[in-house]
C-alpha cells in the first residue's frame, strides 16, 4: 500500500534531485515531513522494488560502450537462450518481445572491442546470430515518467 509520501517521492523527484549537502532534508522540507521519513520511505520503495535507485541516467556510450541486440530464437529454445544471455554480467536488460525477433537485450562493456567479444561469445554459446543495433542518435530529453498512482 502506497502512502501519499511514497506517491510524491515516486512522481515528483525523478529529475532535478537537489545538489545540496542534505538533499533528502530539502525534499522533506518541500513535502512538510521529516528527513527520517523521506529516508525511510525511499528505502521502503527500493526494498520493495518499486524504484531501482535514486541516481543518474547516464546516456549510452558516455562511460562505456552499449549495444541493443536482437535475436530470433525458436519458442522451444527461448528460455535456454535467455538464461545464457542473462548470465553475462555485461547484460542489463533482457526481454522477450512479440516478434520474429523475439529476444532483445542490452549489453555494456568498457570498450567497443570488449563488447564485440561478449556478443561473439553469446552467439557461439547460444547458437543464434545477433542483430547489433548501436545507438546513432538519442532524440529524447529524459524528464522522467509521469505515473498514474490513483489506484496504487
Amino acid at each position: 500500500m502506497l502512502t501519499d509520501l511514497h506517491k510524491h517521492l515516486l512522481n515528483d523527484f525523478q529529475r532535478d534531485f537537489p545538489l545540496v549537502e542534505r538533499p533528502y532534508l530539502e525534499i522533506a522540507n518541500q513535502l512538510g515531513v521529516s528527513e527520517d521519513a523521506v529516508l525511510s520511505a525511499l528505502t521502503e520503495l527500493r526494498d520493495s522494488q518499486l524504484i531501482s535507485r535514486v541516481g543518474p541516467i547516464i546516456p549510452p556510450n558516455q562511460i562505456g560502450a552499449s549495444m541493443l541486440v536482437a535475436m530470433a530464437v525458436p519458442e522451444s529454445e527461448l528460455q535456454r537462450a535467455a538464461d545464457i544471455i542473462s548470465h553475462y554480467p555485461e547484460v542489463n536488460h533482457n526481454y522477450e518481445r512479440e516478434n520474429r525477433f523475439n529476444l532483445w537485450f542490452v549489453a555494456v562493456a568498457s570498450t567497443a572491442e570488449q563488447l564485440a567479444r561478449v556478443l561473439d561469445a553469446i552467439e557461439s554459446e547460444t547458437g543464434y546470430k545477433t542483430q547489433r543495433l548501436p545507438l546513432l542518435n538519442d532524440f529524447h530529453i529524459d524528464l522522467g515518467f509521469r505515473l498514474d498512482l490513483t489506484h496504487a
Binding site: F17, E35, L42, V54, I58, I63, D142
Partner: protein
C-alpha cells in the same frame, strides 16, 4: 569533456546514491573527494548532459505499467532527425533513438511507449502517428512479454580510472 575524476564519480554513483543524510559526503569518502567537489562535479555533469537526469528511477512494470511497446519504423534517412525530434516531444514517449538498419532488420527509428494496458498504448500510438505524420512508413509494434533481466547499466571503469568491483544495483 569527461575527466578521470568525473569518470570515477559516474562509476561510483551509477548504481545509485546512498539513501543517507549526506549522500555526497559518503560518495566523496569512497573517492577521496570533498563533498563540495562531488556536488560541483555532478552539477556540471548534469548541465552538460553527461548525466541526462538525476533523481528517483522508478520500476514502471512493478507500478502497473505492464503494456510496454517498442515501436520501430523504417524512415528515409533524410527525415529521421526531424521525425525523431517530433516523436520525442510527445508526453507518453519515454525513449526515442536512431539505430542502424541491418540486412535482416530494416528499421532505423525506435521509440518506447509504456502503458497500463495494450489498448491505451495502441491509442497513443495512433495519436502519435497522426500528429507526426508517420502513417506512410513501415513499422512494427513489439510489446514486451517476459522480462528475463533488468537492472541499471553497470559499467566497469577503464583507464584512466582504477578498476573496482561493484555491487549490483
Amino acid at each position: 569533456m569527461l575527466d578521470a575524476r568525473d569518470f570515477q564519480l559516474l562509476t561510483e554513483i551509477q548504481s545509485g546514491l546512498p539513501i543517507s543524510p549526506r549522500p555526497y559526503h559518503d560518495i566523496g569518502l569512497a573517492l577521496g573527494m570533498s563533498e563540495a567537489e562531488v556536488i560541483e562535479r555532478l552539477a556540471v555533469l548534469r548541465q552538460t548532459g553527461l548525466i541526462k537526469r538525476l533523481g528517483v528511477i522508478v520500476k514502471h512494470r512493478q507500478l502497473g505499467y505492464r503494456a510496454n511497446a517498442m515501436i520501430v519504423w523504417n524512415i528515409p534517412d533524410a527525415q529521421v532527425k526531424t521525425l525523431g525530434d517530433r516523436i520525442s516531444r510527445s508526453s507518453f514517449v519515454t525513449l526515442c533513438y536512431q539505430r542502424p538498419r541491418t540486412s535482416e532488420w530494416p528499421y532505423n527509428l525506435y521509440c518506447m511507449i509504456h502503458g497500463k494496458d495494450r489498448g491505451t498504448v495502441l491509442a497513443q500510438l495512433d495519436q502519435l502517428s497522426a500528429e507526426c505524420g508517420l502513417q506512410a512508413f513501415d513499422r512494427e509494434i513489439l510489446f514486451s512479454r517476459r522480462c528475463f533481466k533488468q537492472r541499471g547499466a553497470l559499467y566497469r571503469p577503464v583507464a584512466p580510472a582504477p578498476s573496482a568491483e561493484f555491487a549490483h544495483g
